[in-house]
Symmetry: none
Subunit: 140 residues, 4 copies
């Protein structure tokens, strides 16, 4: 039998708040999704002005980061033409995201969840996702 550690709803809210605060700071209304370690959604918010398309994309970035235990921008590199994971972007009916903005949430070297952010540039999305993780890790 396995014992799994995962984010609870309160953790998810702290991740959301940290990300939202950073999004407000840089002036980009974002869609922000938090999943557990299996990639299942725990919490989501679309800030006023966040893009409709970004709801699905944020959820899928968090899903990918948690369930594949890898930041989505790392897939961006390994899925370029000629690289080993080329073509992975359309896997799982397009849910596997290779665009930056999805990060695994790691505690004691274990993936306990994922955060996905979308509506800005991939660099902004990643920055805001990292701010969520920083806020969460500061509470441990």
């Amino acid at each position: 039998m396995l014992t799994i550690r995962r984010l609870d709803l309160n953790d998810a809210r702290i991740l959301l708040q940290g990300a939202r605060a950073r999004a407000a700071e840089i002036g980009v209304p974002m869609c922000i999704a938090i999943t557990d370690e299996s990639g299942q959604l725990i919490a989501f918010e679309r800030m006023d002005g966040g893009k409709v398309t970004s709801a699905t994309i944020a959820i899928d970035k968090a899903f990918t980061a948690a369930a594949a235990k890898k930041a989505t921008h790392e897939y961006g590199e390994s899925s370029q033409p000629g690289a080993p994971a080329y073509g992975i972007a359309s896997a799982i009916q397009g849910r596997l995201m290779v665009v930056g903005g999805g990060l695994p949430v790691i505690v004691a070297a274990e993936v306990v969840g994922g955060i996905g952010v979308s509506s800005g540039t991939p660099a902004q999305d990643r920055d805001v996702a990292q701010a969520g993780i920083d806020a969460f890790l500061a509470t441990l």
Copy 2:
């Protein structure tokens, strides 16, 4: 051009809080989703212990209630065998929900959003969704 009124993120949080408080009161951890008037997700929470299947179901109940301007339990009645809307439950790739727990959010006779709840019995889900709406309407 049309002018439309819809829930903002702050409204969505009030709906979530009202529903969550009622879920805690009856002791059933729920998935709760809030959409805008077009059925697009604004906010979501899965309470600790909420069902994984219920994440999609709650989102689709809120989508149906808002975008079809009708409570999902009303579709439950009109889609029984022999009733006029029989078969509607599998429409839109199964997103059209006919199980109770999805309610339109109505302000001044206009649908401005939807709330969907899942993890309990359909009666519990509907009760919790209504509590979210009651909490929101009390702030207006």
Copy 3:
């Protein structure tokens, strides 16, 4: 080789106009879709106030009526529990509609297209779809 007769865009517009006029008459803003004899979309309109969910449903009713050469309400009857086509409603990823409001457009005993209507009751949807066909046949 086969020679096929199908609606052209001008025919589709006449069908749309006839349906829209009847929808206005009964005071129900509708989604109205016209397909060719293969079920492929030619024209679509969502009247102001038509339901967002009904866009897909209208398109799928027209698709079903044309491509299966059968009114959707006839499937409603034959797909009841215990009837021969029971379960057909979820076929084709839920696109096969068994709710009234989809009618084949028939000229000289040949299906040349389909019309699908949604947003009212199934009886209203069917009435409005028939009005579209009547307007078209009057021009032949």
Copy 4:
């Protein structure tokens, strides 16, 4: 609560007419789709000779342009191999279009809808979409 402005059906028809006139001028029968600001379909026409595949593509271009508030050809640039949004083309089950021909409809710096065109080259599609927008803006 938010107050949103969106295209009505009459606006959508003007966009369609403007696009259709330009398509006729260049001799390319097109599929043309108009959505509201959330990416939901308002109106669609497939001109006689327009491609069957282009119905979905035109609808998805309009959806992308409106819901992501960005022209689809801009995604074409930012999603090239090595560029930041590489891989975004398969997001949302492939609905996120990065091929030119989808434009947001902007009034007073606000996205109020989208237009998507398909059947020609991407450059022709974009030209025809722009003609639709020009016709609409001339009526304001």
